[in-house]
Symmetry: C2
Subunit: 158 residues, 2 copies
Amino acid sequence: MTNPPDSARVEHAVERLRAAGERLTPARYAVLRVVDAADRTDEHLTADDIGARVADLEPAVHRATVYRTLTSLVDSGVLSHVHLGGAATVYHLTAETAAVHQHGHHAHVQCHVCGTVLDVPPDVFDEVAARLRTDLGFVLDTGHAALLGTCRDCATTP
Amino acid sequence: MTNPPDSARVEHAVERLRAAGERLTPARYAVLRVVDAADRTDEHLTADDIGARVADLEPAVHRATVYRTLTSLVDSGVLSHVHLGGAATVYHLTAETAAVHQHGHHAHVQCHVCGTVLDVPPDVFDEVAARLRTDLGFVLDTGHAALLGTCRDCATTP
DNA sequence: ATCGTTGCAAAGCATTTGCATGCCT
DNA sequence: AGGCATGCAAATGCTTTGCAACGAT
């Protein structure tokens, strides 16, 4: 997979934002850049984390604004959020590629010992999703919540 | 103490509590009865829910005590908690009978529309667990967190 | 009698909201 | 110019904690 220049994904996000009829403000732009940067390093940031980094880019942006911005960006589909096992909610840019759309968002599993979040290809849950649908009529949203467990490091290092 | 027609499960829970060297207090007994009653009706109660029902049984029990009691009962293994998709944590008696739950705790899926929690046989996740283990070395704890999706009713009644 | 557990109230923390101002489009 | 977004600050809601009194064993 190629690595588009830093601004490309942010610019794409801005386009989607505008397509949704939303305004681009300094606060929103800063949030988008912060989330994009975190995505690139496989970090999973909470609202509070994002607020802290936004403060570096745009010191004038208030914490409350970060929360409102995140809500609004999720509503307009530019960002997605994932509920981790504990209680935290983390954010990332919504995947735009058609390939991802076919399977939904990638899934997440979190280590309850060290908190690490691992990304999992969505097809891992295909069979489970099919079974839940036929058995219960339940349509699984693979990427919306993380399952808990123990990661390799924490399992082998007691 | 009086002996109302307690659920055998509550008594078993009390035994486990004592086996863990913990004391039985009115607050803990009330919490156990509330959680057991909810289990029987497939309800999934949050700490706050439990507090409300405990207040009916033991009005003197303080909210803070319910939180401390839940923490302590989980620590001693009498209760288990499940992190639902949103942010809520719900509690139930730890399954003791290996006959019914050979695979460990049952799993949960939650509807993000109406909030309903469905119990899922743990074997549904067997393949996923195996794959996560071989691919990532990640040991899945099936019952510890719920996946999100849309239940039958909410999917067919927009 | 001992020591864990509880009640109380107050602190904490993350998140939300009302309102007037500001700024993106 | 108009209307949505923001800053500010206070409020909210859930959970935790310090401390002294209580009570289960």
